[in-house]
Symmetry: C2
Subunit: 210 residues, 2 copies
């Protein structure tokens, strides 16, 4: 085939597939049995590869579990770049977040996202996974900061602004997620995210009364 170029490459695609398979397998098994009761061997078997291959993709169980979260949050920055430049910054950020995180999390397609919710819950409850998740979020925030810098014409290296916005947005998302998972009668996630990011955009006004 001619066309050398930015094509994903057939081989590369297969790698991504096994990568995703390993990640989902890890989440599924650990949600079922608990982190300590799942060996790397089990995850590899579930994904149909040799145990050694697992460590060709991830250096630990935690990294495999957080990989889905990483990919998903990374897309927020990507989505932000697609938004029209005319849109106000916070609106664009909110839309990007909603598009990537909240879509299908509540209604209709429950199957795939129920796993995702279980994954988030898992990463929050297991102490040894919290760091892994936060690190993934930090990576995503760096990319988000770059996108914000581009959009606002600021310098991501010398100006605090884009990183502040990205970091604050990331924190707001985590707070909204946490609240979402803790709601004892389940509530939709979207309003929570809009609320959290909206308050940031409004300058975090102190609530009059609770």
């Amino acid at each position: 085939m001619s066309g050398d170029d930015g094509r994903p490459g057939l081989r590369e695609r297969k790698k991504q597939e096994t990568r995703i398979a390993l990640s989902w397998a890890a989440i599924r098994l650990v949600v079922e049995r608990g982190l300590e009761n799942v060996r790397v061997e089990d995850i590899a078997a579930e994904a149909g590869v040799a145990p050694r291959t697992f460590n060709n993709y991830f250096s630990s169980k935690g990294e495999a579990i957080a990989a889905r979260h990483l990919e998903r949050t990374r897309m927020i920055a990507q989505e932000l770049r697609r938004r029209p430049a005319s849109e106000p910054l916070w609106e664009a950020i909110t839309s990007a977040v909603i598009t990537q995180l909240a879509m299908g999390a509540d209604y209709d397609d429950r199957r795939p996202d129920q796993q995702w919710q279980a994954g988030i819950r898992l990463m929050i409850s297991e102490p040894s996974l919290q760091g892994e998740m936060l690190r993934a979020s930090a990576i995503a925030e760096n990319e988000l900061a770059a996108a914000i810098a581009e959009r606002t014409g600021t310098d991501v290296d010398h100006d605090l602004y884009p990183r502040l916005v990205a970091g604050a947005a990331g924190a707001a998302i985590r707070v909204a997620m946490d609240q979402w998972l803790r709601a004892s009668p389940p509530v939709p996630v979207r309003p929570l995210i809009e609320d959290a990011l909206g308050r940031l955009a409004a300058g975090l006004p102190e609530p009059r009364s609770s």
Copy 2:
């Protein structure tokens, strides 16, 4: 089990001492040789305890290294509670943060801030330590959120406000720290932190010109 007064407890004090000794030993050795060239055995020897004892205090090298950071950031919440209630929230938070950073020389141990700075730089550069540091920050932010809720009369469980403020403040601190460590002619931290938190308090206005 007689009077369990607020006494530190003679025994408890010794435990804290070895805990701190282990943590500093871990930081010092890893800064010198790199994470992969330091075994748990080395850290234990440096602190004067048996290898097995290390894992009675910490479950990993990373946790030991992040412990100093955790203790320090925890004190921000503690410091916030000491601030007069009349002081505006963001002023109080900024003062609390500044106080704890300036306190490094007196509180911990002999080596003042140079070790601490090296520790932070270490945790940022080593991928496997980033998560550990972020997790420590998250714990500190939870305590900060509780203190903020108390001060503002909000509910930390049902109102997003205190957690949003704590999370945003934590993000701002990390951005300021990052900038501090990257400054190629070294700059003082304090103005960076005041700048970052000040912008948050001002509602993150978009800068007019870079």
